[in-house]
């Protein structure tokens, strides 16, 4: 397996009394209410909830793309005020630059940091190997399948060696088979990279399969219903979904979302 030095130690993510209020057409809508979370370094933390529960908003706040109307988010002991290269954001599909081929998309974050092409080339190639896209370096996004595009997305986020990886429903647009193989790949890559991961999904089985802990959000306004530790041994093969323990988690979370 590819050995990977992230260069940055995984960091704690904490959220204190976070609140987010949007005003649309003169009406105030509460998207997030009193969110409190502490995510340990290296943890795979999953947030699951119905659409409209503010989970994407929370992720954008952690990335520094949105600013909360109350409370605060911290990386380590520093408050989040804007984007930073200690965090890598994996967007949903089609967030790739169509005029850049695979290599240049993966190198994008490094390029913005002013790292020279020659220095970025080695790191970029490592990331392409890590996500299994060797041989596709010169392909443009429109020539790739949805699953491959998400691999590029992931490689681009990992290339800047983030301490924290923020993933916004990255597999939602993929078909079931591709999604399963991407989940396996992500677990392998996460183990290799050793970063803290905050992963958002609306699929309960995906949350249980991937997460060390799963936070269940209520519908608007988003609130933490419960945080559940998933005590399933790793690695977790696909067959774990048939186990009674897994099914018990599914039942419990379904009831919470209800």
């Amino acid at each position: 397996m590819t050995e990977l030095k992230t260069g940055v130690r995984p960091a704690t993510v904490s959220v204190e009394h976070l609140e987010m209020v949007f005003t649309a057409r003169g009406r105030r809508q509460k998207a997030l209410e009193d969110i409190n979370l502490t995510i340990a370094p290296g943890e795979f933390f999953v947030i699951v909830g119905p659409s409209g529960c503010g989970k994407t908003t929370l992720l954008r706040i952690l990335q520094g793309l949105a600013h909360p109307t109350g409370g605060r988010a911290l990386i380590g002991d520093r408050e989040v005020t804007g984007p930073g290269i200690d965090r890598g954001f994996v967007f949903q599909q089609d967030a790739l630059y169509p005029w850049r081929n695979v290599t240049r998309n993966v190198a994008f974050g490094l390029e913005l940091q002013g790292i020279t092409k020659a220095d970025a080339a080695k790191r970029t190639q490592e990331m392409i190997e890590l996500v299994g896209l060797t041989g596709f370096e010169t392909y443009y996004p429109h020539e790739l399948s949805g699953g491959m595009r998400q691999r590029v997305n992931l490689a681009r986020a990992l290339a800047i060696a983030p301490a924290i990886l923020l993933m916004d429903e990255p597999f939602a647009a993929l078909d079931a088979l591709t999604r399963e193989s991407m989940q396996r790949e992500l677990l392998r890559i996460a183990a290799a990279a050793g970063t803290t991961i905050v992963f958002i999904t609306h699929q309960i089985d995906e949350a249980i399969l991937l997460g060390d802990r799963v936070a269940v959000f209520s519908p608007r306004p988003g609130r933490v219903r419960e945080i559940i530790s998933i005590d399933l041994p790793r690695p977790r093969p696909e067959s774990v979904k048939q186990s009674p323990e897994f099914q018990a988690y599914v039942g419990h979370i379904s009831a919470l979302i209800g």
Binding site: Q63, G64, L65, P83, G84, I85, R87, F89, F91, D94, A95, Y97, P98, W99, R100, N101, F108, G109, E111, L112, Q113, Y140, H142, E143, L144, S145, G146, I160
Partner: protein
């Protein structure tokens, strides 16, 4: 396989494509043989009409006499001079229009304030047929190359500017957000996201601009010039030299076709990242 046996001057074997076409006439040849067929028909029709229908030499000339006049004008070097003058007027004006149009288009595209100050006037100028100011430009700049380059600039700059601004503004907000999340600065977002996203729009604007620019050259030369294809057409008309008049028109047509073709090559290269989009269906 039967092509070499065809007598010279006959139509290409269009009907033969049914069975043997895959081997004998590859698909891309048809892209050449079919328009050539049309051209041959038109040229023959021209000759016939000139000889037997519109026989008054003050109004029309058969193709053979036009060809004769072209050879005559070429041998004295006069035709080359006219082509060169018109071409350099067009190139100077277009080049200036591209540089200024893209720069101003980016400025208008990225800044709401600049847009507030200028947008309505740019729209007004785009809608105005600016060839109308040609007499004024000739008064200011004389009857040399510069006045015509200025006409080309004025007619070509607005499509380029407006398309560039539209391209910048229609950049996918998600792609801008990606750059922001990777700590991109404002200038990096402009150069690495907005500009590349606007390239297809710029190329469309340039193609439109060249088309308008050719009109600008001819109109400018009609108003006042010492040389150029518009000048050739104008003076030939004044002296009833219809064959020479047609030589000027045909040379303009050839210039237009050549430039359009060159623009297509540039577009195909610059937009290679989205070629075959429709074929791949993903």
């Amino acid at each position: 396989m039967e092509k070499p046996n065809q007598p010279a001057g006959s139509l290409p074997p269009v009907a033969a494509e049914a069975d043997s076409s895959e081997v004998a006439v590859p698909r891309n040849w048809r892209g050449i043989t079919r328009p050539l067929t049309t051209l041959v028909i038109i040229l023959i029709g021209w000759e016939v009409i000139g000889r037997y229908v519109l026989t008054n030499p003050l109004f029309f000339a058969p193709l053979s006499e036009v060809a004769e006049a072209a050879v005559q004008l070429w041998s004295t070097g006069e035709l080359q001079k006219h082509i060169w003058v018109s071409f350099s007027e067009l190139m100077q004006g277009t080049f200036a229009a591209i540089v200024f149009g893209i720069a101003a288009g980016v400025g208008i595209g990225i800044s709401q304030r600049v847009r507030d100050y200028t947008e309505i006037y740019i729209t007004a100028l785009y809608a105005t047929p600016l060839v109308a100011v040609t007499p004024l430009l000739i008064l200011w700049l004389g009857i040399g190359v510069f006045s015509k380059a200025a006409v080309v600039f004025l007619t070509a700059v607005f499509p380029i500017l407006i398309n560039t601004a539209a391209g910048i503004r229609s950049t996918d907000p998600l792609l801008i957000e990606v750059a922001r999340s990777f700590c991109g600065t404002r200038s990096q977002i402009i150069t690495k996201v907005m500009l590349p996203a606007a390239v297809p729009f710029m190329l469309t604007g340039i193609r439109l601009g060249i088309g308008r620019g050719i009109v600008g050259v001819v109109v400018g030369e009609l108003f006042g010039a010492r040389a150029g294809l518009g000048y050739l057409i104008f003076t030939s008309g004044q002296t009833f030299e219809v064959p020479a008049l047609f030589v000027g028109i045909l040379a303009l047509a050839a210039m237009g076709v050549g430039l359009t073709f060159a623009a297509q090559l540039v577009e195909r290269y610059a937009l290679r990242w989205r070629r075959s989009t429709e074929m791949d269906g993903s």
